[in-house]
Symmetry: C2
Subunit: 430 residues, 2 copies
């Protein structure tokens, strides 16, 4: 029995997928049951790293998702439309869909999964988070016996690359970004990456799987890395921390807290050493404790590896299902939840903070800052006056875990007084 | 539709499994389709961390594996017999089997998998390697599109704990072992762990999955950590390496090389920072590049998490299969290969070496050592005379990647001359 794959997109990821499908040697024997049947792209004439016979190639993607011979549609064109409509159309034509499109899944997940459920087909998305890192299926299958409490990920390669270089070179954000763009590590419009939006898409997807409920994309509190300075990286390092853009989803009572922000990570934490374009996802659960998945967060080959693993899983499930009239879906591959997760308020979050003040070098300043925090029940782990230039001083404070609302109130009090000149930066600490 | 689980063993892992099965809240909804039906142990009266109704408990394990109501047998009694016979009997009675027993699988895998194939049932072993770390299913499923080239694992928690403490404290093997035994990190008879036998069982299993062929357990070249000294750890550290007991399986031409030995790991390698009782498995493949799975390598909860994930996968596959007369096996869960992997000779292995000589502090020694290596085409990365006590010196050599056979020949030449007093240690380097 053979399965026919219709591939939408022949760019970075699509070409990688085609390369694997066209060369099964040394890979899963199941690959031999797959046929790369039709391929869609915008241009028929572009040179490609993989040779596709001209008669298989089309610019008419609609004709692929409606082709009665196609069993599995792989969507790797990216973007919201026409990706969403093509996936919906494929599903309506009872084709299984494999996608790498985190933006579309984070926004249209409920619509797409409802459609898939109704049609009795699989909608798979291993490649949407963490590039080549196996994380979606492990969450569905391997950690099915666990009560998950938190997911903490470095899931955007561009920002991790930039922060790693800023750390290694003591360089500033703007310079490293420009260089990263030159080298192809950052896009011409870097917004989705550096402002945390891409990581927010991904943590919404992970949280949905980990906590068994749908997530509204807007529920993810998102801060990017544009304001991170070489100064903060240096101070953090002295205090024993690396600065990473973390995407965090945690159970918080009956609700889930969801956020993406630059974070101080203790050097001893496994995530602190995930550098460059690598990604890692750290999962906490009961009874497993802590596990981490580490690997290449993007790139043609790694992402294609994840896409193909989904295709193989679907093919295996189809094979096991045989020629049955009514499809039966394997619950370890499907996402069946339909309720939305309640979202915790950021104010109720308990976390540690790092804050750097610029102050005038006047007696009493430290005492005043300390008592503003104390009045709001914000207990401090350290408070250090670290550097003095002329009449200016810097005061770096690290708090114990406190309610975010209390911390913000204390900051407002400090602001309102004239004890400080400015708050140079506020970062959370894990 | 409900599935009945027969649990063989209610020790460390068995009790953990029972705890998960008896408390489904917050875990995979599929758990609700599972019933802990019967439990077997040696003693009916031992106090247990989990309450099992007396009528479910039996010492007659045979009656569980032949019980017509049992769908899935979980084998967590350990050891070779009666574990092997019970699993075979369960399979013959068309029950799916989930086991954590690396010793039995590494030795009787072919017999057990043949029986499972013939009976049309699953034989699952996620917990046999890496405790709670998802690695078996990711190898079968997530990396199915990859051509795997190598697996390098820290897959024995006891030895990693001992080496980590030796490193942190500058302590000697014997002292740390005794303390680890006192604290329950090492068994009274530590042979299986410290001599590398447990890691060898596990790498045989991983290699079989990664390279799609059966592995003869005897094919794993195995060296333990008894001879590692605080001195070597210190020298290695100065040279930029941690010493870890690695289990390594690599493609070597058309064959596979399999070995367990203490190894110098560069501080920059992700495995160098896997400390204490944690395990990690580093996988290299094309096109994925490098991925690493990190987590707790043993313990009641983590290991039970892995066992339960297998039970869930089997239940999901049974559910998807429905009430069919002839069972159809999902190839992503089964191990279908039946040929044995050809095994490479250790002599043909290309690897780097670290060697420490004790010599008399005589002029010409270093030159002589250097030329013995040179004559055998062993090229050196560094050669340092590191310490002199009275008339004794130590010479530490790190080679480039060389044929192991050539290196051994050079060592024999050096031995045969009177240039050195002894070879204090020989370790491989990755
Ligand atoms: N690149 C990565 O490392 C990576 C990692 C994880 C996930 N992803 C996700 O994978 C998806 C694809 O990314 P990519 O990097 O492969 O993108 P890409 O290199 O830009 O490739 C997009 C492909 O889709 C085709 N295409 C786009 N819009 C089309 C349309 N309207 N009609 C017909 N063809 C169209 C393009 O055709 P032409 O070639 O003819 O222009 C191109 O072949 C995205 O969702 C992305 O988020 C990518
Ligand atoms: N412990 C870990 O962290 C870990 C991690 C990975 C894999 N594993 C594997 O998991 C398996 C179980 O390990 P474990 O640590 O749970 O062992 P354990 O604590 O010694 O428990 C063994 C259980 O099996 C029962 N049992 C043993 N032989 C029996 C027999 N002949 N008839 C009836 N009952 C028998 C014992 O009964 P009683 O309680 O009545 O004596 C006990 O409940 C082993 O294969 C081990 O390699 C363990």
């Amino acid at each position: 029995m053979g399965f026919k794959v219709g591939l939408l997109g022949l760019g970075t990821v699509g070409a990688g997928v085609a390369q694997i499908l066209l060369d099964a040697t040394g890979r899963s024997p199941l690959l031999q049951s797959l046929e790369l049947y039709r391929v869609g792209a915008r241009s028929l004439d572009k040179p490609r790293p993989v040779e596709i016979p001209r008669e298989q190639l089309t610019t008419d993607l609609q004709s692929i998702v409606t082709d009665p011979n196609v069993d599995i549609v792989v969507e790797v064109i990216g973007g919201l439309e026409p990706a969403r409509s093509l996936m919906l159309e494929a599903i309506r034509h009872r084709k299984h869909v494999v996608t790498a499109n985190k933006a579309a899944i984070a926004r249209f997940g409920p619509e797409l999964f409802d459609a898939a459920k109704q049609a009795g087909v699989y909608l798979m998305l291993e490649a949407a988070v963490g590039g080549g890192i196996p994380i979606i299926q492990p969450l569905k299958q391997s950690l099915g016996g666990d009560r998950l409490n938190g997911i903490t990920g470095i899931i955007n390669g561009t920002t991790n690359y930039i922060l790693s270089r800023m750390t290694a070179e003591g360089a500033d954000f703007g310079d490293v970004l420009a260089d990263a763009q030159r080298l192809g590590y950052a896009e011409a419009d870097p917004t989705a990456d550096v402002d945390g939006l891409d990581a927010a898409d991904k943590i919404a997807i992970l949280a949905s799987l980990a906590f068994g409920g749908r997530i509204k994309r807007e529920a993810v509190h998102t801060e990017g890395i544009r304001n991170i300075t070489a100064t903060d990286i240096t101070y953090a390092d002295k205090l024993g921390f690396a600065i990473k853009l973390l995407a965090i989803a945690r159970r918080q009572g009956p609700a889930v807290s969801l956020r993406v922000h630059p974070t101080l990570v203790p050097h001893s934490h496994p995530l602190a050493r995930v550098d460059g374009a690598f990604n890692a996802i750290f999962v906490e659960g009961q009874p497993i404790g802590q596990v981490m998945f580490f690997g290449p967060g993007a790139g043609s080959g790694p992402t294609a590896s994840a896409v193909v693993s989904d295709v193989l899983n679907v093919a295996a499930a189809m094979q096991a299902m045989g020629e049955r009239a009514t499809p039966v879906i394997n619950p370890m591959l499907a996402c069946s939840h339909s309720d939305f997760c309640p979202i915790a308020s950021l104010d109720d979050l308990e976390t540690r903070f790092y804050v750097r003040f610029l102050t005038s070098d006047r007696p009493g300043t430290i005492g005043h800052i300390g008592s503003c925090f104390g009045n709001r029940l914000v207990s401090l782990e350290s408070l250090v006056q670290t550097e003095v230039n002329g009449d200016e001083a810097q005061v770096v404070v690290v708090t114990h875990a406190v309610r975010e609302g209390d911390f913000r109130a204390a900051l407002a009090d400090i602001h309102a007084s004239d004890a400080i000149r400015s708050v140079a930066s506020v970062l959370r600490v894990i």
